[in-house]
């Protein structure tokens, strides 16, 4: 295992430490015995802690949306950054919900009415009003995110309000006289985080056109690979992006009648190629529309951002590898296979390509083309059609490849398939360190 892969495990510990610091400072402000010496102080303390932790996580979550490559190194790829983003956002939300409830509950013993009034917006108490408005906005955004099916553009538009919600939360922290305002270190830390969160929001969500570097490309050739999949070859107008095999890019097609929204696509070309090839499968409304634009796609202007992802066969260690692709999850392996030939080390790879029906299989010639130059024994493609053969299992893979000893396993496909395989590998005694996955969920 290369040393720099170690950094892929640093993201969570670092994040937890940075979230733990303000809580630690809060705990040091007065003896803990007085923080929890009765129901009133306990509820007050829980409410305060929930607010501190919720705000800290909220700020870091905005930071994670910037797609800065440093975070990719910390978490092991942008897809894992997004997974962390979802988890952190949910924890922050739960903490921020708990914050006013516990602060209100602590007033119940002295005055039930005061407890209720704390939750009622009051124009005469702006700091609390900002907090209430911020939480209401966050609840609406989370509800939309988790429980409503919105068009992608609407979803993006709704998320632009996240900055306003966070700004109100920042005002709430700044103006509320409480323990924080008496400790300059804690207050500075939290306000610094609020500032960082707002800068992140401006960088990625509010003004990405100004701050985020994007590259101009033109569609050179768009061709259909099968009924539901097409490959689009892009040529840079000036300077192209630099990428590694297995990475993906965000692409915005600028054709008349086509929405310019940004979508992630895995790169299927090799880094040594002159241009950039992406593989598009019709999975949703936007990719369906792209498919319909295929006949007039050539010459279309395209904006490209990236490349992202850390799904690289050279990073995982040994030269004996098993690659497992599910459906459109084949695309990063196309790029990996194309770059295998250029590798100085001889890799021995078994590529399992699982699809539902034979019609979904990409042209096998294409896969063979991808590995021109490799000796037959060093690269095997094993197609697997689930309607004929059932579900692809870890046992089947083990039997076909002669076990898992000293082998690295790379998996890319639908999340349920990857989860099932990971569980089966664990049952068969494969260590977690041998399994490397590329989750597809990016939104």
């Amino acid at each position: 295992m290369r040393f720099y892969r170690f950094t892929h495990y640093l993201g969570w510990p670092l994040l937890l430490t940075l979230c733990f610091l303000p809580a630690l400072r809060w705990a040091m402000m007065q003896p803990m015995a007085t923080r929890f010496d009765g129901p009133v102080t306990t509820m007050l303390s829980i409410g305060q802690l929930a607010g501190i932790i919720g705000l800290t996580l909220f700020a870091f979550n905005l930071l994670l949306t910037t797609r800065i490559k440093f975070f990719e190194d910390l978490f092991g790829g942008l897809n894992r950054v997004f997974i962390a983003h979802h988890l952190i956002g949910t924890i922050a939300f739960v903490a921020l919900l708990a914050h006013p409830v516990f602060l209100a509950l602590r007033l119940v013993p002295s005055s039930m009415r005061d407890a209720a009034l704390l939750l009622v917006p009051d124009l005469g108490n702006l700091p609390v009003l900002f907090g209430i408005l911020s939480l209401l906005g966050l609840i609406m955004l989370m509800y939309v995110t988790f429980f409503m099916t919105l068009h992608y553009r609407t979803w993006i538009l709704v998320h632009k309000f996240l900055g306003a919600v966070f700004f109100l939360a920042g005002l709430h922290v700044l103006l509320t006289p409480n323990d924080l305002s008496r400790d300059h270190i804690l207050q500075t830390y939290l306000l610094g985080l609020v500032g960082l969160g707002l800068v992140s929001y401006c960088y990625r969500t509010l003004l990405p056109g100004i701050f985020v570097k994007r590259y101009d490309y033109v569609v050179q050739l768009a061709k259909r690979l099968n009924d539901s999949t097409m490959e689009v070859d892009l040529m840079p107008v000036k300077k192209g992006i630099r990428f590694e095999a297995g990475q993906f890019v965000f692409v915005s097609f600028r054709a008349e009648g086509l929405s310019p929204e940004w979508h992630p696509f895995t790169i299927s070309s090799s880094p040594s190629d002159q241009g950039l090839a992406i593989t598009v499968k019709s999975l949703g409304a936007y990719t369906e529309m792209l498919s319909r634009f295929l006949p007039i796609m050539n010459g279309v202007f395209v904006k490209v951002e990236g490349a992202y992802g850390r799904f690289e066969f050279r990073d995982v260690g040994g030269p004996n590898q098993i690659w497992i692709a599910g459906g459109i999850g084949i695309t990063p392996f196309l790029s990996l296979a194309r770059s295998l030939a250029a590798s100085e080390v001889t890799y021995h790879v078994d590529l399992y390509y699982a699809v539902k029906t034979e019609s979904e299989l990409l042209d096998m010639d294409l896969l063979q083309q991808a590995v021109v130059g490799l000796a037959d024994k060093s690269f095997r493609v094993i197609p697997f059609v689930s309607t004929k053969q059932g579900q692809l299992t870890a046992k089947y893979v083990g039997d076909m490849s002669g076990g898992f000893t000293n082998k690295e396993i790379l998996v890319c496909g639908p999340p349920p398939m990857m989860a099932a395989l990971k569980k089966q590998f664990a049952t068969l005694g494969v260590s977690k360190g041998q399994i490397h996955t590329e989750e597809f969920r990016m939104s």
Binding site: Q30, T34, G38, V40, T41, L44, H86, L87, T90, F93, V94, L97, A98, P100, V101, L103, A104, L105, R106, L107, V108, P109, S110, S111, M112, R113, D114, A115, A116, L117, L118, L119, V120, D122, G124, N125, V128, I139, M142, Y143, F146, F147, T176, P177, N178, D179, S181, R182
Partner: protein, 241 residues
């Protein structure tokens, strides 16, 4: 899916808690009601941030705050004599057993009870209700405490020195607008943190802290109407001298 479940559960708990607190606090429980066992007396004056209004209200509700029967009785712990013309009261009424207050605070001033018994009707021992003159409302903010409840009792007057003796977080009295408040049970519930009540505030006049002209524990800000309402719910009696 797990995250969605967590969000759903959190939202349900949050919504239930908030609705319960709002319903109980604003609909079921009358303003100023405190939970038994927290040693709080006083009547809440919701949204009354004007000290003068608060003072008037407190005077008017003084008969209630002491945990006595309805104001018409004009009785506060047996310390106030029957008021002439107050109706068909008999001496027995003046020593009726105190009952928990059932009347919330009101901003409408009521006549101030006379501190000294004034028998009407030729000096007889029994008051004659028919000949009694109607008492005028007296806007005096500070009723004469003698003979009345003593310092620390409901509506009992204290001197500033007596209040100053209660200067600990575990025994914290404060002065505001000519009245003193026993806030011991609120010390840990203050939204500004538990250290707001300290040696600088407990036992002292907190007027400057309330209006934001002075700072405590490094913080100064003008308090909201609900903060004054909360303060009023801890009102005990006037400060003299």
């Amino acid at each position: 899916m797990r995250l969605k479940g967590l969000v759903s559960l959190s939202l349900m708990i949050f919504a239930t808690s908030v609705v319960l607190i709002l319903f109980v606090g604003l609909v079921l429980v009358p303003p100023g009601t405190h939970i038994a066992g927290f040693g709080v007396v006083g009547t809440a004056l919701p949204n009354s941030s004007d000290p003068s209004v608060a003072a008037q209200s407190s005077v008017g509700s003084g008969a209630v705050t002491a945990g006595t029967p309805a104001p018409a009785g004009g009785v506060s712990g047996g310390s106030v004599a029957p008021v002439a013309g107050s109706g068909s009261q008999s001496p027995a009424a003046s020593v009726s057993t105190p009952k928990p207050s059932s009347s919330p605070g009101t901003k409408t001033p009521t006549p101030t009870v006379a501190p000294t018994p004034t028998p009407v009707g030729g000096g007889g021992s029994t008051p004659t209700p028919t000949s009694a003159p109607t008492p005028r409302p007296t806007p005096t903010p500070v009723p004469t405490p003698t003979p009345g409840p003593s310092c620390g009792q409901a509506n009992g007057a204290c001197t500033a020195a007596q209040v100053a003796a209660h200067n600990a977080r575990t025994n914290c009295w404060v002065i505001y607008g000519g009245w003193y408040y026993v806030v011991t049970s609120y010390v840990n519930a203050h939204p500004g943190g538990t250290s707001v009540f300290n040696a600088a505030t407990c036992g002292h006049d907190i007027t400057s802290y309330m209006n934001g002209t002075a700072s405590t524990a490094g913080v100064s800000h003008s308090h909201s109407g609900s903060a004054y309402s909360t303060l009023n719910s801890y009102k005990v009696g006037p400060v003299q001298g």
